[in-house]
Subunit: 325 residues, 2 copies
């Protein structure tokens, strides 16, 4: 089959021209980079402004996409679409009206919480998950109104369920795996994944070693199996890819992701005392452009060409169309 | 008896020279004004800077107090001590290291949450109280280290219990009443109040009509009864006054307290649909300087002179000594 348009719902780290060109040449037509983890309003605006510069400096390679049609334009002219997203809601600084402002500036994905509880809800790493708060409910409604996709990849299961139930439209889990396949705080329960799918949402299977089974890190065929088992839970219209692939990450970057400015103590994030540092990329995905190897592997595990096109990007495009048209 | 030094652990609204003089002349030797409800770092620094101006402009009336000895100086020279406090922790903007910076600038009281859940813990108005989070535990330790008193007046009961247990030193509930006497989300359970007292903390009985029984708003004797019943729960060394008295509050001020910038919807705070607006001051406390009328009333309900001195301010002074020396 011809290579379907690849959409990856979550990557992070430092993007530069080399990375952008590699993704474009590797068949990616849309990727969501992480514009922030803990940053407040000003730092988040700085990050967004840098991406505008990046677009100007790499105009023949990338396009910041605001609508599903912008992604279709990338598919037509072979550019890499950049979907602006943050892994936290600190950029709102408790202001309900900032949702609309950030939407106007092109932000299309917001994860409700990163690794810590916040004003909106509970995180997967807290002892107790409060569920969606009163402010959280308002923000989720406002995001749906303004066309921003809610992401519950790092929230607790309860907050995810509340969000799925409360959101007027479908939501996403952009980068996590089923906890029933690989038990980890960062992965979501079958109950959450089924509820997500019933409301039209999509889960992106992650290729990040700390939260992904070894057999799905070993070969593309193994990762295709992980996707097939996730499809058994969610259905073939509700599974995509959110690699969580990270560029140029070093100890300082990991410390920032895990501890931000909130802790004086060591915190392992998705790692652990026995795996505290960098983990290696999946064996089959040493470089992100190898994601195209997943296409034949998905065929080997029995998916049809139309199904493969959905998993590689079509399901995200359908969801994006629904949420921000 | 001679009027004991009055310490009020919580007031709010707009303080001006007239208010400061009234409090000084009314026998107050220390008051904690509210420097912020929802404000982030910069706005909180602005508020603190304004109080430094206020101190310069009213040097013969007030003194910003940083240590218990500064309050003793106010008792000696008849000034009003100003203990700098905020009703929220938004001023930290998730930075553990800002605790020390604000302590160095003279901040001595921080309420862990105002009306909404935040990164530290759960609020009394949320459907679910998460308890103290990982960041919350770090902040509570850091506050104890830096000499800032933790206040759980608006947290949920579970977060209050966690804080009492986790804090290396005693904490406070500066302005609330026992929920067993007046059931309201803003009042604390006997379990919390007993745990608070066992660890050396103090609760300040509030004279705010929305959370105070009518009979304690009607007469000073009634309020003395409320204090006596609170002493039955906590012991005479662990009860003080935190009136929650508000100056020059108007609809805009109430809207700010209740909705900040987090909600597009109507929110009643401590009020309700049946009592949405301003509530009248307690009949016996039309002006804050009438708090001295509580002294004879406490005598009428059976407290001795030393006990009255403790309730009117001595218990706060002992707690302040213990927390910030």
């Amino acid at each position: 089959m011809t290579l379907p348009a690849i959409i990856d719902a979550l990557q992070c780290g430092t993007f530069d021209r080399e990375v952008l060109k590699m993704l474009r040449d590797g068949g990616y037509r849309c990727v969501t980079p992480t514009l922030g983890f803990w940053e407040g309003t000003l730092e988040s605006l700085d990050s967004l402004a840098r991406w505008r510069d990046m677009e100007r400096e790499n105009a023949e390679l990338i396009r910041i996409v605001r609508r599903a049609d912008d992604i279709r334009a990338c598919i037509a002219d072979g550019k890499l679409g950049i979907l602006l997203g943050y892994q936290n809601t600190n950029l709102l600084e408790d202001r309900i009206r900032y949702v609309e402002l950030f939407a106007d500036l092109g932000v299309r994905v917001l994860q409700l919480t990163y690794n810590n509880q916040n004003e909106l809800g509970g995180s997967c790493y807290e002892k107790e998950d409060s569920g969606l708060t009163r402010f959280g409910r308002e923000v989720v409604e406002e995001m749906a109104r303004c066309g921003i996709l809610a992401d519950c990849s790092h929230t607790g299961d309860r907050t995810a369920l509340d969000t799925i139930e409360h959101s007027p439209g479908p939501i996403a889990i952009t980068h996590a795996n089923p906890a029933s396949i690989f038990p980890h705080a960062r992965n979501r329960s079958d109950r959450v994944i089924k509820a997500l799918a019933e409301r039209g949402g999509v889960i992106g299977c992650a290729a990040y070693r700390n939260i992904t089974p070894d057999w799905a890190c070993a070969t593309a065929r193994g990762f295709a199996d992980l996707i097939a088992r996730t499809v058994d839970i969610a259905g073939v219209d509700h599974v995509g890819v959110g690699t969580d692939f990270s560029y140029k990450g070093d100890d300082a970057f990991r410390a920032w992701m895990r501890m931000g400015r909130w802790s004086r103590q060591l915190n392992y994030g998705a790692g652990s005392a026995s795996a505290p540092g960098a983990v290696s990329k999946p064996d089959w995905l040493p470089s992100a452009d190898r994601l195209s190897d997943l296409v034949p592997a998905l065929g080997e595990v029995g998916f049809s060409e139309p199904e493969i096109a959905k998993i590689m990007g079509g399901n995200w495009l359908r969801l994006y169309e629904e949420v921000f048209g």
